[in-house]
Amino acid sequence: METTGHPDPTFAIADRTFTSRLIVGTGKYRTNREMVDAIRASGAEMVTVAVRRVDLDRSVEEGILHHLDPAEFFLLPNTAGCYTAADALRYARLGRAAGLNDWVKLEVIGDERTLLPDTAATLEAARELVAEGFKVMAYTNDDLITALRLEDAGCVAVMPLASPIGSGLGVVNPYYIREIKRRLSVPIIVDAGVGTASDACVTMEQGVDGVLMNTAIAAAEDPVGMARAMKLAVRAGRDAYLAGRMEARDIAVPSSPRGGMLE
């Protein structure tokens, strides 16, 4: 690391240590090749996957494990697409039964148009999954109270959204994100809503531990190029946060001396 002044040690979620603060999804890529190349370019160590029925009409089984090596990436099964706590529990258990790990990215959706989380159902599912020994990383909205409850429930990370899933709107409420980071002890990963590199940078400048994204990379014209940009943006945002930004002012202050001007 070439930064001076502030060391930026690795960070831990539960019992695992990570160097990259960027977590990426594996959905929506045009090809598997492009997905793997983009993930490698992003530098991400943790990668999310979804649980779905095997398509029996296909000639070859197209599971993602044929393309992603669990020895190279830490695969985080999600409960995406679930609208009830019961469904989320079912998907989480199926994901764990694949035998990779006992982690889950818990997500219980409450509304189809916005894909905003059903926070009551998320909390209910989180409590049950923690009791079953899962390491729960919970996707939630940017509401402090829900975030506190999820921490109390035993989640290993709380993951407020920047803005709705797949929207690319960036951080709509940096104040709430900062407050959640300030008030919780578990790692805060901002999950969903990042659209481009500047969004990732702004997200990390709020002081959060990491950022999780999928569409911003997968739906870019050049996903591999965007993955590289995101890697740098997350790094830049983190460094800027650690370096401590100057205070913003409503008035100009010259950078060159006022004195010493010619007569």
Partner: protein, 79 residues
């Protein structure tokens, strides 16, 4: 329903619901046998049978029975 295979004229197939679709499979098939017929590697899929997850080491010994609702899932791309 599940007693039919011991009956007088056991049918050559049993009817199951596989990933939401009705399907007839041969009698006396194990879940491992079903995966084999579908050309699926047991290590790549998770089997849920009648809403209960089947442990990997139970796949070979669990029979496919008439009326079973079987779900075969795996990991796909997602965020």
């Amino acid at each position: 329903m599940t007693t039919s295979k011991a009956g007088k004229q056991a049918p050559a197939t049993v009817s199951i619901t596989l990933n939401g679709k009705a399907r007839a499979v041969g009698t006396g098939l194990s879940v491992a046998g079903l995966l084999g017929e579908l050309e699926l590697e047991p290590g790549m899929v998770v089997v849920e049978r009648n809403r209960e997850i089947l442990a990997r080491d139970a796949i070979a010994t669990t029979p496919v029975e008439d009326g079973d609702r079987i779900e075969l899932v795996h990991f796909v791309g997602g965020g």
